[in-house]
């Protein structure tokens, strides 16, 4: 049996996207505070609306669990006088002291008087509340005042039936909450038991799941279930009610991308599709109130959308007066980055690079160059100035109506892709080349002027650009030298390597040791890296593979210990008859086969061939002592092992493969 607890932090409207992380933080901070103060209990729920962060807990003790506090005194060797002095200072008699430890010391162990839970909470809650992390905070009571995401206007803090008295930013805690700004009362006395019901009667649905369900109920009949938008609306409302509106079909002449962007990003409406997938002239808006009986809200939203669509149509028409090609010179006035010049300069670099990349990959250089030349021109259009998130897409749409080649407009349209890990890479060869040229130019330029991402600071989204480069190379099967793409910038190469590891491990799910092994054998050609990784993944479960890997590791160690520098021809006459000579013959025979498979990029067959050598290697290590007494034999043996290792490590450095102990070859 313990006490229930309720905390409601009443705030002005908190940005929707910060609420869930804030709740997690509140839960963690409160639980830590309970534990640190020995108050027992546990957090049972955290909830939030835009105007309140709420935590509920149960089983709190009435007072702190008892604790014995030990104070260290002088060592016994300091003599009885020191002990008396210590006891006097602590206000006890010498007989109250105890002796512990070696060498022995005096100790005083005393029970700490437990404080009442309410008192502890009153002292700790302000720190719990202001300890919640928000990405951007403000002060409001004056310079130097407490910081929070938005001004705190009321606090409900109840332990059982009693208010936990506390004060924060001039707000004194109490038992009164506030309802919905329009639907509810301004001051509502609550108890822990009736809190949620009281809120609901005052127009506030506390549970995010219930709010979500109210919105989801309207997402039928062709409404696009946009999960991100749904999440936003759940935390933008205290009492969500969806309404359905319509717009004039004539606006459907505008590109779908523009219409949905206006609805989704600017108005937070769900768009609606016909059964065939085409856009329907309808939308679903979510109100933060309970009803729209006279249709006033619907009419208002329809009016706003109409104005927005009119704007878009106006931009579309005005923009057409000047074709993209004529806009390119205007890019001289658009800054790319202060030290990297204008978008015109970037365009010129991109076009040159696109042409070069196209020539190397067998794409049509003239198309790639044309697309790169026009790719950024939409930055000067009214449409992109208004809907910045449509950059590229707008350029592509304009290029299409302006009669550019299919490959060209598509390349412009898609050149910002992939926008995220979930997004696909550009769909055509030309688009991939243009996208690469754009991203590489940004990466090279930023690295050149030292704008390298650090920690969470990555203002030019270089990580995303690098990830895009990696994905386009691998998934687009573009055999381009990474070193050359990096223009000999070692830091950029290292940065890309980091993204390559991340991509193959975390996105593609290759084991980290496989990735290490393959990259250690070369990472200049990512298509090849992928092929080698897939071969390893395929061969790894076969019985010979891991023991073989263990043997390779052993060879590596032997060579390292012998400080073998490599080189030296193998003198076959010095090879011992038996296991050594047999291994050598096997090696000589396989070498040719492995080489042919590798040339054909059949890495799997190559690896299987290498693995077939395992019995001979095992026998060799069983029977032959590498460190032969005769220096010439020993040197020859090392040269042999060295050449074996080099020859077979072109696909992967097997010594990087982590092998379970019981799988290793017998010594």
């Amino acid at each position: 049996m313990g006490l229930p607890f309720l905390l409601e932090i009443g705030s002005e409207e908190i940005p929707d996207w910060m609420i869930e992380p804030a709740l997690a933080d509140l839960r963690r901070l409160f639980a830590e505070m309970l534990a640190d103060n020995r108050l027992g209990g546990q957090v049972t729920r955290v909830d939030a609306t835009p105007r309140r962060l709420v935590l509920r807990a149960e089983g709190l003790a009435l007072e702190q669990h008892p604790r014995i506090e030990a104070t260290i005194g002088p060592p016994v060797s300091a003599g009885p006088k020191a002990a008396e002095g210590f006891a006097k200072r602590m206000g006890v008699g010498v007989t109250d002291l105890e002796v512990r430890d070696t060498p022995p010391r005096y100790y005083l162990a005393r029970a700490v008087a437990p404080r009442r839970t309410s008192e502890v909470l009153a002292g700790s809650l302000p720190n719990v509340i202001t300890g919640i992390y928000f990405p951007k905070t403000m002060y409001w009571t004056g310079k130097g005042g407490p910081r929070f995401i938005r001004p705190i206007r009321w606090i409900v803090a109840l332990l059982g039936d009693a208010v936990v008295p506390l004060e924060l930013a001039g707000v004194v805690s109490g038992n009164t909450t506030r309802g919905h700004r329009v639907l509810g009362a301004g001051r509502i006395p609550v108890t822990i038991a009736d809190y949620e019901v009281q809120l609901e009667q005052n127009g506030v649905i506390l549970s995010a799941a219930k709010r979500r369900a109210r919105i989801e109920a309207a997402l039928t009949d062709g409404v696009r279930r946009d999960q991100a938008l749904l999440g936003t609306l759940v935390y933008l409302t205290e009492f969500p009610t969806p309404i359905r509106g319509t717009f004039d079909e004539r606006y459907l002449e505008l590109p779908r991308e523009i219409l949905t962007t206006v609805m989704r990003h600017h108005q937070r409406y769900f768009s609606v599709e016909h059964a065939g997938g085409s856009l329907a002239p309808e939308f679903v808006a979510v109100m933060n109130t309970n009803a729209d009986p006279q249709g006033v809200v619907r009419a208002g939203n329809e009016r706003v959308l109409r104005a927005r669509f009119n704007d878009a149509r106006f931009f579309w028409e005005v923009d057409q007066r000047k074709p993209l090609a004529d806009r390119v010179p205007e890019l001289a006035a658009v800054t790319f980055q202060a030290r990297l010049g204008s978008y015109l300069e970037k365009t010129n670099r991109m076009a040159a690079l696109a042409m070069e990349l196209a020539q190397r990959t067998g794409a049509m250089a003239s198309l790639a160059e044309r697309a790169a030349h026009l790719a950024k021109a939409d930055l000067t259009t009214e449409m992109v100035k208004e809907f910045t998130e449509l950059q590229g897409i707008v350029g592509g749409l304009y290029a299409r109506v302006q009669g550019e080649h299919d490959e060209v407009w598509r390349a412009i349209y898609e050149h910002y892709k992939p926008l995220s890990m979930e997004d696909s890479i550009p769909s055509t060869p030309t688009a991939r080349i243009v996208s690469l040229a754009d991203k590489l130019d940004t990466l090279r330029g930023c690295f050149e002027i030292g704008m390298v991402p650090t920690g969470s600071r990555d203002p030019f989204a270089l990580r995303r650009a690098a990830q895009g480069v990696v994905r386009i190379l691998v998934e687009g099967k573009l055999r381009l030298s990474l070193k050359e793409l990096c223009a000999a910038d070692a830091r950029l190469e290292a940065f890309l390597l980091d993204r390559i590891r991340h991509y193959f491990r975390d996105v593609r799910g290759f084991a980290y040791d496989e990735v290490n092994a393959v990259l250690a054998s070369g990472c200049d050609d990512l298509v090849d890296v992928e092929a080698r990784l897939e071969a390893i993944r395929a061969v790894r479960p076969t019985p010979d593979f891991e023991p073989l890997a263990a043997s390779f590791k052993r060879i590596t160690n032997i060579l390292r210990q012998a400080q073998f520098a490599g080189g030296g021809a193998i003198d076959a006459s010095l090879l011992e008859a038996g296991p050594e000579r047999e291994l050598y013959q096997g090696f000589e025979r396989l070498r040719e086969i492995v080489y042919r498979h590798r040339e054909a990029r059949d890495y799997r067959a190559a690896l299987e061939a290498i693995a077939s050598l395992r019995p001979k290697i095992d026998t060799f290590f069983d029977k032959v002592l590498v460190n032969a007494p005769d220096a010439r034999v020993r040197q020859n043996r090392l040269a042999f092992l060295g050449s074996l290792l080099t020859e077979f490590s072109a696909i992967a450095d097997f010594s990087e493969i982590v092998v379970a102990q019981n799988n290793t070859a017998s010594p």
Binding site: V182, G300, R303, L305, F314, A338
Partner: protein, 301 residues
């Protein structure tokens, strides 16, 4: 149905009744009500200050020759500064909507995150855009910094977009169809302004002359800033005049920008130049208005 001028009068009356000083628009071109000295300078320092004024705001690049029903070269804001922001500031704001006939029980109102920043003024704040039935009608900001200075008291800034609000109230598809006064439309009052200023800003403005004007205003402002330290008594020094030159620079910058006359290298540098002036004036203004105790004592002596 209220006319444009009646709605504006009701809002001004509401804030006057609450306790604001109501002033007429500032008479130097500005891009937003924030730039008028009634806001930019008065939010600095520890003195409370409540003010409301309509501010015509010129944004040359937004001109559309009077062709676009929702865009204006010069729109009008009702700017309200409450310093420090009262605890019930959002409720007060909702009451002001009721005062112009918006019955919130019939509408949908949301406060959506929208922070504000002006690099040129060294100013930023935290706040929302207020959405009424999907229409942004007000920008609400708690100022945090102005002229690069942390503010002693946090003011609330309410910026009502008057054309939008009235078009909404009068149910007009175009701003130009708003009834300004009985029988007089917004078009009657403002169309020529929009057309002619768009033509000037985009076609006629003499780039060389604008650059010269900007340099002159900058120089005059610098001269004043440099003259302040040696001048006594401080309270007479024309800092407000220096600030007018900052505003002129800012407006000229916008004109040159709409003319497409600012190159990449110039742009960054130019913003920094105007910012330097704005910050210089802000810091000097604080010192002038709130001298450090020692200096204050000296002045008395």
């Amino acid at each position: 149905m209220d006319t444009f001028q009646t709605t504006v009068a009701r809002l001004k009356h509401f804030w006057a009744e609450w306790g604001c000083v109501v002033t007429e628009p500032y008479d130097v071109e500005v891009g937003a009500g924030t730039m008028a000295p009634e806001t930019f300078l008065r939010v600095l320092g520890p003195r409370p200050w409540n003010v409301a004024y309509v501010q015509p705001s010129r944004r040359p690049a937004d001109g559309r020759y009077g062709e676009n029903p929702n865009r204006l070269y010069k729109h009008q804001q009702l700017q309200v500064i409450l310093k420090p922001a009262p605890q019930d500031v959002l409720d007060l704001y909702l009451h002001s909507l009721a005062a112009i006939g918006i019955d919130l029980r019939k509408h949908d109102i949301k406060f959506e995150e929208d922070n504000w920043e002006s690099p040129t003024l060294g100013a930023w704040g935290i706040g929302w855009q207020v959405m009424l039935d999907g229409l942004e009608i007000t920008q609400f900001t708690y100022f945090q910094q102005c002229g690069g200075i942390d503010l002693d008291l946090v003011p609330a800034e309410l910026t009502y977009g008057l054309e939008r609000i009235v078009a909404f109230l009068q149910d007009k598809e175009s701003i130009y169809d708003i009834e300004w006064a009985r029988g007089v439309s917004y078009r009657d009052v403002r169309f020529a302004d929009e057309l002619q200023n768009s033509v000037y800003n985009f076609e006629f403005a003499d780039v060389v002359a604008l650059w010269q004007l900007l340099a002159l205003h900058e120089k005059e402002c610098q001269r004043l800033l440099e003259g302040y330290p040696a001048y006594e008594p401080k309270s007479r020094f024309p800092m407000l005049a220096a600030y007018d030159h900052v505003l002129k620079c800012s407006h000229l910058f916008n004109l040159l920008d709409s003319r497409g006359a600012i190159s990449v290298t110039e742009r960054v540098g130019l913003i920094a130049r105007v910012r330097k002036l704005a910050i210089g004036v802000a810091q000097t203004w604080i010192e002038q208005q709130h001298p450090a105790p020692a200096e204050a004592a000296q002045e008395v002596a």
